[in-house]
């Protein structure tokens, strides 16, 4: 489940029992990593190794769809999809739920390596980051654009779920905030869980294609693409950086620096933006729009179970 955040991020600034919510992920990781001797599961690691070799041999594929427009598919997409296929495929009996749990625990540790690599790029370019400070900080407010999706969620028939769905991108820290505020069994929490699960399964692939298309169509500043890739999820961040690096050769360090730093900001600052701005704003908009757009018959929440 929780692949995108850290080993338990988020400092939620208020009292009460949020301690449990905020550390769920870290504790889960600890339990898995510590009790199962995860490195011993050679089937898992050999499978990963084979996936990586296959992916690197295929290499990057470019599919031209129009003049100057091409879809780039990178090895990182193959390994992820193949990993999922290996888990789901019946004939492959050595990758089961147990391996998936170990993989999940292990990747929480490996996020650290990814973050460390980006941090080194940030340290190297620290002067540049200070120069771009205003852009870096203000683009965090750009994430508030998710609230614009609220009317569409209402038209589709969601009720209070929509508040949980559209206040943010719905990764672990956001889930923790919503659960903390509305309670585990509230419709708002159901909404954010739905976004979390769907984001987990399709988010990384989707953002990789989204970025590829945007790079061809949108004449934005290269640094803007780099900063935007820091959406607050390590794997989505990574998948978004891939095509950006490929599109601007020679700017690797700057792009990695901005992407890493912006993702770090999303972790640290983003959570406060959600608590103090996004959630109140989403609620206001909901109260205003729901009577106008909401359907009478509430949709039976498919995400209920």
């Amino acid at each position: 489940m929780n692949y995108s955040t850290t080993l338990g991020v988020v400092i939620i600034p208020d009292k009460g029992n949020e301690g449990q919510v905020e550390h769920i992920y870290r504790e889960k990781t600890d339990k898995r990593i510590l009790k199962r001797n995860p490195w011993r599961d050679y089937r898992l690691h050999c499978t990963v190794f084979i996936l990586v070799v296959i992916a690197e041999f295929i290499g990057t594929i470019e599919i031209p769809i129009a003049k100057d427009v091409a879809i780039t598919i990178m090895p990182l997409i193959y390994t992820m999809i193949l990993g999922l296929v290996f888990y789901l495929a019946k004939p492959i009996t050595w990758i089961q739920r147990k391996q998936a749990r170990i993989a999940e625990g292990a990747m929480m540790l490996f996020i650290g390596v990814l973050i460390a690599k980006l941090a080194v790029a940030s340290g190297q370019s620290i002067n540049l980051i200070f120069q771009m400070g205003p852009a870096l900080i203000l683009q965090e407010l750009g994430h508030l654009a998710t609230i614009l999706v609220l009317p569409i969620a209402l038209i589709l028939g969601f009720k209070k779920e929509a508040i949980g769905m559209t206040n943010s991108i719905g990764r672990e820290p956001n889930v923790a905030v919503v659960v903390d505020k509305y309670g585990f069994n509230s419709p708002e929490s159901r909404g954010v869980f739905a976004i979390f699960i769907i984001g987990t399964v399709i988010g990384t692939v989707f953002i990789s294609f989204l970025v590829t298309f945007s790079l061809s169509f949108l004449p934005l500043h290269p640094y803007a693409f780099a900063m935007a890739s820091g959406v607050g999820s390590a794997s989505m961040n990574a998948a978004a950086i891939g095509p950006t690096l490929a599109a601007f050769p020679g700017m690797e360090t700057q792009i990695e620096a901005f992407a890493g730093f912006s993702n770090l900001l999303s972790f640290c600052v983003g959570i406060y933006i959600v608590i103090f701005i996004a959630l109140p704003l989403t609620e206001k908009l909901y109260n205003w729009l729901e009577p106008k757009l909401g359907k009478d018959a509430p949709v039976h929440k498919q995400e209920d179970e």
């Binding site: 490996f110 683009q139 987990t200 934005l220």
Partner: protein, 163 residues
């Protein structure tokens, strides 16, 4: 919450060894992938991965042992930034070896674990309707474009050349 406390009691030498073994496996796979994909010499990328693994280990350790309520991401980022800071005695060494490991090589291995791990969520995913999928896709797009457009406007306003 007895079982939560139970989890952290086990953080011991034994636990750290598990982290070290996992990071070693990860480093070896990444170094091979890095060689296949980008032809960086294997021993150089292994040193690079060792540096990154040590930073990770330090950050993960600090998260669990220091009294501050701070995530390992923050510790890891701060250590990484300081080690690579221009003028630091470590920066030349760290930059040389870490630059041998392409970011995308790390990501490729990382996402293989993510892919296998996400299999667990597959059933829950299938239970959700298409409407929720539409909303998710729009939310991700909105986050990305919101940030990109604000960043672009700020960069243009502050006159940053596009290169």
């Amino acid at each position: 919450m007895p079982d939560l406390i139970d989890g952290s009691e086990n953080v011991s030498v034994h636990g750290i060894l598990n982290w070290i073994f996992l990071l070693t496996i990860f480093s070896i796979i990444t170094a091979i992938g890095n060689y296949l994909g980008y032809h960086h010499p294997m021993e150089q990328s292994l040193v690079g991965m060792a540096i990154l693994s040590l930073i990770t280990l330090a950050g993960v350790w600090m998260e669990r042992y220091l009294p501050l309520n701070v995530s390992s991401i923050l510790y890891i980022s701060i250590i990484g930034i300081i080690l690579a800071f221009p003028g630091m005695p470590t920066s030349k060494f760290v930059l040389h070896y870490v630059s041998q490991v392409e970011l995308l090589s790390i990501v490729t291995v990382f996402l293989a674990y993510v892919g296998i791990g996400m299999g667990k969520s597959w059933d829950e995913f299938k239970a959700l309707g298409w409407k929720a999928i539409v909303v998710t896709v729009l939310v991700i797009a909105a986050t990305y474009y919101g940030a990109a457009i604000v960043a672009h406007i700020m960069l243009v306003l502050t006159g940053v050349p596009a290169a």
